[in-house]
Symmetry: C2
Subunit: 222 residues, 2 copies
Amino acid sequence: MNKRELIKSSFIFNNISESALSRLEKIVARSTFNADSIIFSEGEPAEALYILDSGAVDLIKSSPGGREQLIRAVGIGETFAEAAMFSGENYPVTAIARERSSVLTIRKSDFLQFIRSNPEVSLNMMGAMAKLLRHLNTLVANISLGSVQSRLASYIIERAEREKSSVLKLGIKKRDLAFQLGTISETLSRNLKRLKDNGIINIKGNTITIKNKSMLKSLINK
Amino acid sequence: MNKRELIKSSFIFNNISESALSRLEKIVARSTFNADSIIFSEGEPAEALYILDSGAVDLIKSSPGGREQLIRAVGIGETFAEAAMFSGENYPVTAIARERSSVLTIRKSDFLQFIRSNPEVSLNMMGAMAKLLRHLNTLVANISLGSVQSRLASYIIERAEREKSSVLKLGIKKRDLAFQLGTISETLSRNLKRLKDNGIINIKGNTITIKNKSMLKSLINK
DNA sequence: CGTTCGCTTGAGGCCGTTCAAGCGACGTGG
DNA sequence: CCACGTCGCTTGAACGGCCTCAAGCGAACG
C-alpha cells in the first residue's frame, strides 16, 4: 500500500484531516525487516512509534534463562511501542518480525509534537492504549487463572467465531501455536489429544473440527 | 484532603490551570467504601473514572472457579478504570476496597468532554496509561516466566531499594503478600523458609532482613 | 483458660516441563 | 526409484513446582 493510504487506514490516524495527513507524511518513514529479525529489543532506548504495514510482528518478553512469553501478536494497521512514547526511556518488550515485514516509523519527538496540534489523534491513541490494557488484563488472567486446556479452548472458540466456521485450518505450525498459548508443543499435543479423546474436536493434520462447541466453551477459564 | 487539593495532587490533573480546576470541581464527586466492599465488578457497564483519595484499592480478575489474580494495587492519587473511558462498555476488572477508602469519581461523559478542552490532561492520561502498560507487561513476564521464588525476590529487592534499607517491616499480612505475588500463604511460607535456610535473608515475625543482596538479586527471573 | 487468628509444616496430587524416543511426510541425492 | 536425511509432531517416563487438604503451634484476647 502507498504511504498515504496506509496512514489513513491505521487505527490511530483514522479520519485525519488532509492537512494533517500531509504533515504526517513528512515525518513517517518506512522500513523493512526480514523474517526472524529483531526490530527492537527490550531495554533499548525508545526512539520511535511503529505501525505495522505488512507481515507479522510479535512482541515478547524473555527471561535470562531463555524462556519467552508472547505479549502481543501485532495486527496489520496497528501501532506498537505506544508505551515508549509516553513513559520511560526504554522499550519494555522485544519486537520480532515473524515474517518479512514492512513497518512505518515516526520518531518520538516528531510524534509528540504532532499530537499536540492534533487532539483527535490523542483520543485515538488513548483508545488504542485502552484496548491494549484490556488485552493485557485478560492475558494476565488467562495465564494465571487458566490451564493450557482453557487457553486452547478459548483460542479455538475465538477463531471459530471470527471465521464463522466450525472447521479451522490452523495456518501456523503447532509449535508456534503452543508458543502463542504460552506453552510448548508437547503439552499442546497432549491437550489436543485430550479434546479429541473426549469427542469435543477432531484433528486431521493441520485442521481442527469442532464437534461439541458447548462443551468446548465450558472448558474456558477452568 | 479537600477536593481541590486532592485533584491537584493527582497524577493526571497535575499542573492544571485554575479555571480548569474550577470546572473539574463541578463534575467530581466523592464517595466512600468500607473495607472488603466492591467498588465495581468486572463486566459491569463502565460509568466513571476513579481517583483514589485514601485507603487501599485492589484491581483483580477472578475465575469462575473462585481463584483470583491481583492486577494492580492502586496507589493514592492514582486513577483507575482508565481503560473503561476509552474502549468498550464494561469494566475489565473488579475493584475492591481493602480498607475503608475514599475515592473521587468523574462520570465518563463528563470526563470525555472535559479532556477535549484540556489537551494537557490527555497527555497526562497517556502517560498514566503508558505506565500501566509497562506494569502489565512486567506482570505477565513475572507470572509466566518466573517462579514464586523469583517474584518474592523482586518484591524484597524492590521494597528494600525504595525504602533504602535492608530491613523490611512487611506492614501487611503474609496472606495478603502471597496474594500480591500471585500465590498462597503456604507457598510463600515455604519460599521464605528456603531463603532463610540458604542464609539469604532472616525473618523474625513480620520483619525481613536481607543478609545477601547479590544472591537475592540473582534469583530474580529464575 | 479456651478460642481465634495468622502462620508454619507435612503429605499427597496435579499440571506442565524436560529429556528421549518413535513416527510419518517430504525432499534430495545416489 | 529407493535410501536416507530432516522436519514437525506425537508419545512416554521422570521430575519439579505449586496447590489442596489437614494438622500443629504460638500469640493475642476475651
